[in-house]
Each structure stands twice: as structure tokens, then as C-alpha cells.
């Protein structure tokens, strides 16, 4: 299905074309969906819809559910043991009902579920890749905007609403209008101590929160090729934060090495056939993109946000901007409002901003490599007395692997909380939240007003900046610890 037309095509176009079930003039293409991931928050109303219409789930073999968004991550309650998967550990009755509803729906419709306490439970965008289900060239959807994460493997992956979740459950397809294509080429190499998170925050600050609107983005160039799969997932994860439909990275040896041997990766001859197919999943040399953006990796330094959308960020070496110097009237008003909410004075060095909470985790930065990076910075140091630090693995498997390496000990010795897997403080719908007025440095993806709890103030950072910040009590880079 790849290379069956003469016209040079981009990676996104190849994957799109390979999934068109039906195409008709004046209508959106009907796309086949290879993998549908579910979680407790955006699925109950979709299952209700199926039930009312008397429809089954068309392809239970292409559907997988987990519990992640409103599950507790333990610790504060000494009796908590996620291995039990006991619903009584969920104190909030509405949260408990939502989890119970997912379990009932999965049982009734025959959908496989990794529930709280299961060894494969975790954040939906962490477990897909971990199981080897996320593969190059697939179409992947989930009722969650950070589904773009899976694009790191060269899959076309995007978030959908609950009506669309119901549509995919019933038909295993989605009607979609073909988006435009965009290339983000990152030239050069990231400097020492500069991470994928810094890169993507710098990109969003440059292009703005609406910069990717209507486009499937392909990240390419030397800096992208040199990233690990974890780093690539961080980049693709945040595609939605600048409005892109999806983010993709062409598969290469790094991708194949990550996938080989994973539970659902092809084996034997099927592996060889798959790799041959995957190698064709690159943008043809003569293909053109509708839009192109170029970024110089050598100019990027540790990057943090100061405002209330992911585009309001700056190098950690700089200061809180002065809205009066912003030319665009709308952006100026947004900056004024953001600084008021964040309680920040223009001109303050970003390094002088003191935080109350440091959160390491989420589908953006909750994988093993992220935990290793944070632990490496923390080793031999202690979290500042004024700071509460939460370390939340992205999945039960990540937690287990981290413990095998002794990372849990590094975190605990430093005074951080070592918690169970889940979305945790990324989104303020489980017990891990900021209190009003509290300020965090967070490795998550959104610094929206109240995102981490009503009245909470969020600075988005990389795992290494998060760790250094925890030690010093103010926004800081690892180099500041020396």
C-alpha cells in the first residue's frame, strides 16, 4: 500500500492513503482505525450511545482500555496498595462510579481492560508504546488530546471527542477531512543538558498555540533523528499544544530497536515483513509540505513557561516579559491576564521564581528515561524544605523498572514522594492537585489556569529542570547545582 502511486508523498499522506475505506467527492474520507485506546473519562457516554442503539463494539481486538485519569496514586494513604486494584482505595464516590462504569462497560462489550492494580495499568499513552501496540504506519485514536504522542513511531495518531469514540467503537472508522501537511525541521544538535521538552516548549513559544491548526506535522532534521523514542514521544505529545491535528516522526533504526521483542510487536517472518513496510514510511524526497518551519537546535536552552498557555514560555536564562513590549494587542492582553493570574512581576528573572510543588510524571515526561534524568540530577541532593516533590511513573511497568534500577531509592532519599502510576497532577481530577495559590514546576503539558487544581499556578519544565528546581526551591537548571 506504500509507494503504489507515482506522485511523491509525505509520510502523513502515505499513512492517510493506506487507511481510506471510502472516498467520495465533497465528503470527508472514511478512515480505518487500527488501534482505539479508551479510558474512564471520555468513554462512558459513548458506551451508553451503543447500548441505546443496540450496537456492539465492531472490533474488540483493536480496542484497549485502561484506568488513568481520575485514579489516585496512593502514598498519602498508607493503606493504599495499587496492586489490589481495590475500588475502595478511591475515596471520591463520583470517581469510583466512573471507574466502575468503565469496568462494567468493558465486561459487557468484551473490551480488554488494564485496571488499577493490573501490572500493565498506566497512562493510556504510556502503555500503548510499552506493549508494542503502537507501531509505525497505524492509525491510532483515543478520547484524549495527547494521543498525538503515538506519532513518535510514524503512526497517524490524534485525539477525538466522545461522539467520535462512539463512532469508532461502532464502526472502527472515522470520517475525516484531509488536513494540510507541515514540516518542522530541527537543524543541528541539542546542547548538553537541553532536552526534547525544552525543544518543544521553544517551538511552541515561536509558533504560538494556534500555529499548527489544521496540519499534520512531521518533525524532522538532525536533532529529531538523534532523539530517543522517549524524547520523540515528548515532542509528538505536545503537538496538540500548538494546535496541530497530529505530530509524526518517520520510523528509523531507533524505532525498530525500541519495538523489537515487545509483547505485541511482530515476531519472526512477520517482523521482517513489518520492518520492510516500515522502511517505506518516509517522506519522498520530491514531496512538498503545505507549510514549513525551521528551528535551530543549537540556539535552544532550558526552557520554561511563565504564563497560562504553553506558548507563553521563555529561556530559563531570561526574565518574565513585560506585556507593554508585546506588539500584538490580543497577545498583550493575554500576557497581562496571565501575569496577573500567575502573580508575576514583569522583569523578574525566571530563576527567582519560587515554587511549592514539583511534579515529575504525565504522558509527556513520565517514562523511564524521564525518571532516570530526574534521578540523576537529584542524586546526592535533597529536596528543599519548602518544596513538595511528587514522582509519578507513567505506568506500573515504568514503576517496576525504575525500582529495579534503584531510582525509587534516589527519589525517597532526596525527600520526594514515590507514587503509583496515573495521570496524577497533570490535570486536577484525582487527589493529586495544587491548592489555591500554590505554584508548581511540572513536567506535564498544560499550564492553563486551574489545570492542576483551582487557583494553582503551573510552570512547564523538563524533568531535569524539575529536579534542580526541587533542590533549590526556585526555577533552576541542573548546572545551577554546581
Amino acid at each position: 500500500m506504500v509507494g503504489d502511486t507515482a506522485k511523491p508523498r509525505t509520510l502523513a499522506e502515505k499513512v492517510w492513503d493506506a487507511h481510506v475505506v471510502r472516498s467520495a467527492e465533497g465528503e470527508p474520507d472514511l478512515l480505518f482505525i487500527d488501534l482505539h485506546l479508551l479510558h474512564e473519562v471520555t468513554s462512558p457516554q459513548a458506551f451508553d450511545g451503543l447500548r441505546m442503539a443496540g450496537r456492539p463494539v465492531r472490533r474488540t481486538d483493536l480496542t484497549l482500555a485502561t484506568e488513568d485519569h481520575n485514579t489516585p496514586t496512593g502514598y498519602a494513604d498508607p493503606a493504599f496498595n495499587s496492586r489490589r486494584g481495590d475500588l475502595l482505595t478511591i475515596a471520591d464516590p463520583t470517581s469510583r462510579t466512573q471507574i466502575e462504569t468503565l469496568r462494567r462497560n468493558c465486561a459487557e462489550f468484551g473490551v480488554k481492560l488494564h485496571p488499577l492494580g493490573d501490572e500493565q495499568q498506566g497512562i493510556v499513552h504510556v502503555i500503548g508504546p510499552q506493549l508494542g501496540l503502537t507501531q509505525p504506519g497505524l492509525t491510532i485514536v483515543c478520547g484524549d488530546s495527547h494521543t498525538s504522542t503515538h506519532g513518535a513511531f510514524g503512526a497517524l495518531a490524534f485525539g477525538i471527542g466522545t461522539s467520535e469514540v462512539e463512532h469508532v467503537l461502532a464502526t472502527q472508522t472515522l470520517p475525516q477531512s484531509r488536513p494540510k501537511t507541515m514540516a518542522v525541521t530541527v537543524t543541528g544538535e541539542l546542547g548538553p543538558g537541553v532536552t526534547a521538552k525544552d525543544l518543544v516548549l521553544a517551538l511552541i513559544a515561536q509558533v504560538g498555540t494556534g500555529g499548527g491548526r489544521g496540519h499534520i506535522v512531521e518533525y524532522r532534521g538532525e536533532a529529531i533523528r538523534k532523539l530517543s523514542m522517549e524524547g520523540r514521544m515528548t515532542i509528538c505529545n505536545m503537538s496538540i499544544e500548538w494546535g496541530a491535528k497530529a505530530g509524526m516522526i518517520a520510523p528509523d533504526e531507533t524505532t525498530f530497536a525500541y519495538l523489537r521483542g515487545r509483547e505485541h510487536a511482530p515476531k519472526g517472518e512477520a517482523w521482517d515483513a513489518a520492518v520492510e513496510y516500515w522502511r517505506g514510511l518516509t517522506t519522498d524526497e520530491e514531496a512538498t509540505f503545505d507549510t514549513e518551519v525551521i528551528l535551530d537546535a543549537t540556539q535552544i536552552s532550558p526552557f520554561v513557561t511563565w504564563g497560562t498557555n504553553p506558548g507563553q514560555g521563555a529561556s530559563l536564562n531570561s526574565r518574565v516579559p513585560n506585556p507593554e513590549e508585546i506588539v500584538d494587542e490580543g497577545e498583550r492582553a493575554a500576557a497581562e491576564r496571565a501575569l496577573e493570574y500567575m502573580a508575576l512581576e514583569p522583569g523578574t528573572p525566571l530563576r527567582e521564581i519560587e515554587v511549592d510543588v514539583v511534579f515529575v510524571g504525565s504522558c509527556t515526561n513520565g517514562r523511564l528515561e524521564d525518571l532516570r534524568a530526574a534521578a540523576e540530577v537529584l542524586r546526592g541532593h535533597h529536596v528543599a524544605d519548602s518544596v513538595r516533590m511528587l514522582v509519578v511513573p507513567g505506568s506500573a511497568v515504568v514503576r517496576e523498572a525504575a525500582e529495579q534500577e534503584g531510582l525509587d531509592k534516589v527519589f525517597k532519599d532526596a525527600g520526594a514522594e514515590w507514587r503509583f502510576a496515573g495521570c496524577s497532577m497533570c490535570l486536577g481530577m484525582n487527589p493529586d492537585t495544587l491548592k489555591p495559590g500554590e505554584r508548581s514546576a511540572s513536567t506535564s503539558n498544560r499550564n492553563f489556569e486551574g489545570r492542576q487544581g483551582r487557583g494553582g499556578r503551573t510552570h512547564l519544565v523538563s524533568p531535569t529542570v524539575a529536579a534542580a528546581t526541587a533542590v533549590l526551591g526556585h526555577l533552576a537548571a541542573p548546572a545551577d547545582l554546581n
Partner: protein, 199 residues
């Protein structure tokens, strides 16, 4: 889905850009398992501020929301659309929308209308000076009309033919897709052999 043809009502001005779906409805309201009952969550954090426009009684009963650019960015939560519908809105006018929000709205009979900032500002000025001003969103003509102090204004907006037809007819997407079930089955039969399955 409820049909949308022509809607006339009063409008409420929301002079803010980048209104993300966490603001439209915070995550704590997403624990419910129903499709209705979200009106209390709509802009709930901002509504705690007495000066917030939604607390101004002159705008009570408005059915058209006029907002700044990048409305509905962020989370895919369809609850944002349900909350707006439950509160009584039939249309949102803004210079630009988040993609997922826009798609969700089109599926729920909440019309997302993209007008350039100048038109949005004219509507803000109009309804702030006269909150009883009637605004018409006409999907058949793809046009927004309002009586400005000096003239009658009409702004055309773009919406693809297919989405427009679905809204005008109030059609259910799943039903439409299942008319092509043979094509889905045929596609399933020609899928590559090494693709992953759950289980």
C-alpha cells in the same frame, strides 16, 4: 443531533483569547458518566468572579457566545460542548477554534462560526452597548447578521458542504457511516497480516 438551520438570539461577549477547554469546564466536572447536567460547570472558576460577564444579568438567556481567537484549544473533552449546550448556547462565534472542540461541536449541533476579528469586535461592541440586540446565525446562507447602530451588518462564514448538510438535516454520523458497511468489511479483508491485535 438537533438540526441547525437559522438561529436568532441574544449574544454574550467573552473578550478573551485562548479560552481552553479546561476553562470552559474544569476537570473536576468530568467525573460524571452522563451526557447532560454540565451547565453548572461552564466557566465555573471564572464565574466565581462577580465581575465576570456571565454574572451580568443583562446577558441572561444569551444563546450565542462571541469569544476571542483560539477558542476551545487543549483537551479533547466533549464535556465542553455539552456544558455550552446545557447552558443554552446554539452557536459560538470566534476568529478561530481548537480543532477537536470544533469537531465535537459540529457533532452536537453547536455551531462553531469563524468570523474575522474585526467582525467579532463589532459584535462585542454591539452587544455591550445593547445586550438585547438580536443576532442571527444563518447556516442556510452561511451568514451572521446583526443590526449595528448605523447599518445592518452581514458577515459570511465558511463551513464545508458536508458538515453543513449534516447540521441542516440533523444527521447521525454513525448511521451515515454504517450505510457503507460493505466498504468497511472489504477494507478489513485487505489489511496487512502483521498488524497488531489486542489480546
Amino acid at each position: 443531533m438537533e438540526k441547525f438551520t437559522v438561529h436568532t438570539g441574544t449574544a454574550i461577549p467573552l473578550r478573551r483569547s485562548n479560552v481552553d477547554t479546561d476553562q470552559i469546564i474544569p476537570a473536576v466536572y468530568l467525573k460524571r458518566v452522563t451526557r447532560t447536567g454540565f451547565a453548572d460547570g461552564l466557566f465555573s472558576a471564572w464565574r466565581e468572579d462577580p465581575a465576570f460577564v456571565f454574572n451580568n444579568p443583562v446577558f441572561a438567556g444569551a444563546s450565542i457566545l462571541v469569544a476571542g481567537t483560539e477558542f476551545g484549544t487543549g483537551s479533547s473533552r466533549e464535556h465542553a460542548v455539552w456544558a455550552l449546550r446545557d447552558y443554552g448556547f446554539r452557536a459560538v462565534i470566534a476568529p478561530r477554534f481548537g480543532d477537536i472542540f470544533r469537531g465535537n461541536a459540529l457533532k452536537e449541533g453547536l455551531l462553531p462560526v469563524e468570523l474575522e476579528l474585526k467582525a467579532v469586535e463589532a459584535l462585542w461592541d454591539l452587544v455591550e452597548s445593547d445586550p438585547t440586540a438580536r443576532v442571527t446565525v444563518d447556516l442556510t446562507a452561511r451568514e451572521v447578521r446583526a443590526e449595528l447602530p448605523a447599518s445592518t451588518a452581514a458577515w459570511t462564514f465558511a463551513l464545508d458542504d458536508f458538515s453543513r448538510w449534516r447540521l441542516l438535516e440533523g444527521l447521525d454520523d454513525i448511521g451515515l457511516t454504517l450505510r457503507n458497511e460493505d466498504a468497511i468489511t472489504a477494507y478489513e479483508e485487505r489489511r496487512l497480516s502483521f498488524l497488531p491485535v489486542v489480546g
